[in-house]
Subunit: 306 residues, 2 copies
């Protein structure tokens, strides 16, 4: 009986070693070097090559090595098995720290002062008055982020595909209410899951409903945003600035016009990276649950996509 | 009986109007257009031309229009009268907001990512581990800033000319302990008053005692720092970065090498600007105290310089 780690392009020695300590009687293998594919009962997966799970004939469950499962569900040959994902308090804390820092960067006009500095220009400005934040996506991360900013004194509205109810947050639901959710927002934060429904959801229509000079932050997935519409909104001043941590293709191509746009801040997908030390126990727990045939922690609705 | 506002190069209509509302029976005048200099009993002063107070023969008290009194005390002909300054909770809150934003800017590596962006380079990095903050100057602002960062989970050390005792903050005193105060600091924040003792205090010796790759933030006065020593420390990597909000000469000359230094973030003296709406009542209160001959609120020790 073994666990396969199917996470291409990443050093896995540390994860393997820690999982081995947590589960001393289980073989922990790094795909594609498997002792016997028929022995694999549990797979920890991230951006797997499509089809690679089909040879694991005794697989019982799929554990996503992160919060967003879109790259796993994109595999058209995905076996019909329970899928779970990581819900890591450290991930939530990192995301809140990132967003808090970025919102304050804009509040203090550090984007404007950086541009002025490049031209040796001294022009004092008062802080931006950012009162209202809209959070798109009210799952584990989005809900926590909305609560955090409410607690810091902001008015917060939220939007999700299905109706959610969060104390102190004005919640909107469904595509018909997206414009209402962001109409009063000084800052819009995208924390939506990437699904066929949300791909390219934030396009020309969306950006034209924002308050003039709003600030847009994407920490979810690049493909949710229509990049041409985003650039056009920056050009016509519908957006004052955009902070992008995620892109349709990562790493972002050096030819992308986003790099040199003066109103765009680019960070290389660092807002919240899965932390090995905190997720090992969650993986081990789900492995034991799969062995016992009980329900997984943090299950994913494969049809809904998150 | 009148109050003179002696604050060159600033629009004072709003301040004059609000003070007039607070003190309807007192004439509020804007220097140099005084009805009768002998009627002026109280002066609100900021960067006054030296000697301009000497014609006010019935002046009873000098109210500095800000927290730092160095520009007022620099006048060699300053009359021997009580001097007070603004201690404004909104000023303290603004300073904490600025410093919190700047520390998080560095924690999130936004300085590094901005430089990478200029070169279209995608290179993820974990947040900087900033654990220890040293605060130089433990007055109203410095003490509040030290407490704020302690409350946010940082280890905090503090330094002041004279011995201070602050709960949870490791306090050091006197020039002999300056090196100890900053030895373990990942971030050093300067909030010292500018006095003959602190002018050029932070020079080559000081920068050579810092932890390698420390971050230096100056929100006090430019003349406390020896700029050549600062640039040399950045060159040899003793400092990883400097955020400067204050300069020996303001506006900073467009010829200054600081503007284009890749490891320097320049903000144009915006960290905490006196807010008219919150200081009017403090000025009116001190005017009444001066009229009654009672002690001023927030008095300044003219000999000590703060």
């Amino acid at each position: 009986m073994s666990i396969a780690l199917i996470i291409p392009d990443r050093k896995l020695d540390d994860l393997q070693q820690r999982l081995q300590q947590a589960l001393p009687d289980t073989r922990i293998e790094i795909w594609p070097e498997l002792h016997d594919p028929a022995e694999v009962e549990f797979a920890v997966v991230w951006k797997q090559p499509h089809g690679c799970l089909n040879g694991l004939i005794n697989l019982k469950a799929i554990q996503c090595f992160g919060a967003g499962v879109d790259s796993i569900l994109a595999d058209p040959t995905l076996p019909n098995l329970p899928v779970s994902r990581i819900v890591d308090p450290a991930l939530t804390e990192a995301m809140i720290g990132y967003l808090d820092g970025v919102v304050n960067y804009y509040r203090l006009q550090l984007d404007v002062f950086s541009r002025q500095q490049q031209q040796s220009v001294w022009r004092p400005k008062s802080p931006r008055k950012l009162n209202h934040i809209a959070v798109l996506g009210l799952g584990e991360l989005g809900g926590a982020v909305a609560n955090h900013f409410y607690g810091s004194g902001y008015q917060v509205s939220g939007w999700a595909r299905s109706g959610k109810s969060l104390k102190n947050i004005q919640c909107f639901a469904g595509e018909g209410q997206l414009a209402q959710a962001v109409a009063a927002a000084d800052v819009v934060i995208c924390l939506l899951p990437l699904t066929p429904t949300t791909e390219n959801l934030l396009g020309e229509n969306f950006f034209s409903t924002l308050k003039p000079a709003a600030i847009f932050i994407n920490v979810a997935r690049g493909a949710i945003v229509d990049e041409q519409a985003l650039l056009a909104a920056l050009e016509r001043g519908a957006l004052a600035a955009a902070c992008l941590d995620v892109f349709r293709q990562e790493p972002l191509s050096s030819a992308s016009p986003l790099w040199q746009h003066p109103a765009v801040l680019i960070t290389p997908h660092v807002s919240a990276v899965t932390n090995v030390s905190t997720v090992v126990s969650q993986i081990a727990d789900n492995y034991r649950r799969a062995q016992q045939g009980s329900a997984l922690l943090n299950p994913v609705d494969v049809v809904r996509g998150y």
